[in-house]
């Protein structure tokens, strides 16, 4: 009795299309079988004479894999082989599975060096540059080194970038390596993924990550999963970059934060820089990485100025957080633009409440640097997470899970998450301000975990 659907366990023999003594060839129809879904015709695979039909027409509930007929050479004695069902074979292996599914960052193949600290960097530029320039310079440096690196996206070439992040690249590298695309995210993302499968190293700019939703199937189903599905044969060295999250009053369809969406996907690495310094080091690591990397910039941060390390080989390892400020009373875990707001909050917490807060800037969201978070919590015993994403299933939610699991006894108060409001982004300036996490929200959360009224 053949299984004719993924879920079929038994079938009914509706009709025999052969009789004893018939000669059948491969491909001949032999019976009609009623499954849990439909009635289907069954073909012979082997050739021979029908020696016996083991069930009558109309017999029901015949288990899958039970012999229903014998076809063979009538001069040979046919013995029915006992087939071990696949489930049995697997059961016998006695799989010992750890019931607790840990997200193991070691599996993500990270480089095990700490994140360089800007305060200790002896190679710092005297001049401060914007985040926009830092990103541009890094792309240009890597394009000079490796001809396989190219950039494509809407308005990246002639227009010099919708946010001027690709300024000058067309002039230096030409239209073969700096390509303006039509407004066609699904198509050009798939094209770039195909190019990466074939060995190029595309940098794909989304005018905003909101538009990456047009292409999300190619990012998840093609870019992230193919290495696994191909048994390790085909990798996808591509960087998807562009502004993520809210700008200023661009309302619901242009303001979404995609941090947790992409961080949920095995096969992707997710980076969210917060300063020109780490933007440079992290973008270089992203371009050099052999896997698909989601690089979440922030439009408001493009103009942020700061010193950088101008060494063309300077990089910051993926998967390492940076302790942006040391402290002893509580830990604030944050990333991207919320680092700036957290810094403001920390100054006021010291001034107004004499609280000495530690700030962890995640830099990479996947793989997550759980070690740095846990070490900090073990020291301060209090934790808040601050991010722009919606609250449900955010990066902060995962951090809460990890901390309650691995540092439960160190916590002196429940962890508090500070997120955007659980609504689509409103247009009005006043409502937008309410929607986004503000310095006061961070201060209130810090007071709450410290039991300060």
């Amino acid at each position: 009795m053949p299984a004719l659907s993924p879920t079929m366990t038994e079938g009914n023999l509706s009709k025999w299309l052969i009789k004893k003594g018939d000669t059948v060839k491969a491909g001949d129809l032999i019976a009609e079988i009623e499954t849990d879904k439909a009635t289907m015709e069954v073909e012979a695979v082997d050739e021979g004479v029908v020696i016996d039909l083991l069930f009558k027409e109309g017999e029901a509930n015949i288990p899958v894999n039970k012999a229903i007929a014998i076809i063979g050479d009538p001069n040979e004695k046919v013995e029915l082989k006992k087939e071990t069902p696949v489930e049995k074979v697997i059961e016998e292996k006695k799989i010992e599975k750890n019931i607790e599914t840990k997200i193991d960052t070691k599996k993500d193949n990270i480089i095990d060096t700490p994140s360089p600290k800007i305060e200790e960097d002896t190679n710092l530029s005297s001049e401060e540059i914007t985040m926009r320039q830092a990103l541009r310079d890094t792309m240009a440096e890597e394009m000079r080194k490796d001809n396989k690196v190219f950039i494509l996206g809407e308005e990246v070439a002639e227009y010099q970038g919708a946010y001027k992040v690709t300024q000058g690249l067309l002039q230096e590298f030409g239209k073969e390596r700096v390509l303006d695309t039509p407004i066609s995210e699904h198509g050009f993302t798939g094209l770039a993924v195909g190019a990466a499968f074939k060995g190029l190293r595309p940098i794909l700019e989304f005018m905003t990550f909101n538009f990456s939703m047009q292409a999300i199937d190619q990012i998840i189903n093609s870019a992230a999963k193919t290495l696994y599905m191909s048994g390790g044969q085909i990798n996808c060295p591509i960087v998807f970059r562009g502004p993520n999250g809210a700008a200023a009053q661009v309302a619901a369809q242009h303001s979404q934060d995609f941090s947790s969406w992409y961080s949920q996907v095995p096969g992707l690495k997710v980076i969210a820089p917060s300063t020109p310094y780490n933007a440079k080091g992290l973008l270089r690591s992203a371009i050099l990485d052999s896997n698909p990397v989601i690089f979440l910039e922030n439009e408001i941060l493009y103009g942020l100025k700061g010193p950088v390390n101008n060494d063309v080989n300077f990089s910051i390892p993926i998967g390492k957080a940076n302790i942006a400020k040391e402290g002893k009373d509580l830990t604030i875990v944050t990333y991207s633009i919320m680092l700036q707001k957290s810094k403001e909050a920390v100054l006021r917490l010291k001034e107004e409440y004499n609280l000495d807060a530690e700030i962890i800037d995640l830099q990479t969201l996947r793989p997550l640097d759980t070690e740095t978070i846990l070490n900090s919590v073990k020291k301060t015993n209090r934790l808040i997470t601050v991010e722009e994403s919606w609250p449900f299933g955010s990066v902060g939610s995962e951090i809460v899970n990890i901390v309650q699991r691995d540092a439960f006894d160190y916590l002196d108060s429940p962890v508090i998450k500070v997120n955007s409001a659980d609504v689509p982004m409103p247009y009005s300036l006043s409502l937008e301000k309410l929607y986004l996490p503000q310095v006061d929200d961070i201060i209130n959360a810090a007071k709450k975990v410290s039991y300060i009224k």
Binding site: V45, S184, K198, N221, L227, G232, I234
Partner: protein, 320 residues
């Protein structure tokens, strides 16, 4: 067009037969519970991929849909390892992690096996982009089912390919049904090969039951693309004898329709030519039949005896 040699006829017959016997055996293993999940068979469509194969350069790339077993066999990949992937074993082309719909062989420039309808079209276009970017003379053959021809990303890919003059040959395998929905119930305008016209992509309709017609069209189209003229579309009219997948009884079509197509069976057409041209005798054909059956039996044997992947493999190949 290059004149077909005697060996070419034998090669075509052998490959088409190998695909058919492979698929029949896969159906049997599915019935025995050795193959799980979704399994889409290529029976009836053999002339399409084998016809294209006759014009291929081994450095050309290929990307196709989830109905991919026949494509891999035509590419010269080992039936043992294809079958082992179907049974989910460690010797499979994707080490048991891909299954029927997701098989790849980078060394043979075979880029899948894609489970999402239409997704392979921009990907194939991107592989063609790479050939051009690297200054190679090769092309990417990108197969598309008739169902995908109503999918937006296909048109986005056509636009990009034409805009950037990419060396991509699009082959629409029109087997008349996207799962259970016939083309005329899904597509406004039945001439799918004309759907590149708006982008300036030439297209042509071909009888896909006849391998000789496929070769002729593929040869012409392949030359056009290889010479740097940009993309080309061939719509190959074919028919799948089986349902969409293993669990589909194909009630949406009549028995007469199926029988009608079986009258023009692609393998029989080649066999008739071989006998008519006296390229081989009946006995020699019989020998090929026997050897093929044996090879596929061995593949099934291999695929059911290959070990399941080690538990530790669950966590490998997520990142490189």
């Amino acid at each position: 067009m290059k004149k077909l040699q005697k060996a070419d006829y034998i090669k075509m017959y052998s490959f088409m037969l190998k695909i058919r016997r492979f698929e029949e055996r896969a159906a049997q293993l599915y019935g025995m519970g050795k193959i799980g999940g979704f399994c889409h068979l290529y029976i009836g469509q053999e002339a399409v991929v084998v016809g294209i194969l006759m014009t291929i350069d081994k450095n050309d790339s290929v990307v196709t849909t989830y109905r991919d077993h026949g494509h891999m066999i035509a590419r010269g990949l080992d039936p043992k390892r294809i079958m082992a992937e179907l049974t989910g074993r460690e010797d499979g082309y994707s080490a048991g992690k891909g299954g029927s719909m997701h098989m790849f062989s980078k060394e043979n420039n075979f880029y899948g096996g894609h489970g999402i309808v239409g997704a392979q079209v921009p990907i194939g276009t991107g592989i063609a982009f790479t050939h051009k970017y690297n200054g190679e003379k090769n092309i990417c053959r990108t197969y598309i089912g008739d169902g995908a021809m109503n999918n937006g990303q296909v048109f986005e890919a056509f636009n990009l390919a034409a805009l950037w003059k990419l060396p991509v040959l699009y082959i629409i395998e029109n087997n008349k049904y996207g799962m259970g929905t016939s083309v005329d119930r899904a597509a406004a305008g039945l001439d799918l090969y004309k759907r590149g016209e708006a982008f300036g992509i030439p297209g042509e309709k071909v009888d896909g039951m006849n391998v000789f017609s496929v070769i002729e069209a593929a040869d012409k189209a392949g030359k056009y693309v290889r010479e740097g003229n940009g993309p080309y579309i061939i719509e190959v009219q074919t028919y799948r004898y089986r349902g969409h997948s293993m669990s589909d009884p194909a009630k949406y079509r009549t028995k007469e329709e199926l029988d009608n197509y079986k009258q023009t069976d692609p393998i029989e057409i080649v066999k008739t030519e071989i006998l008519k041209k006296k390229i081989a005798t009946n006995d020699e054909i019989e020998k090929i039949n026997k050897d093929t059956l044996e090879e596929i039996k061995n593949a099934a044997e291999f695929a059911t005896n290959s070990p399941f992947p080690k538990d530790s493999e669950l966590y490998t190949d997520v990142y490189l």
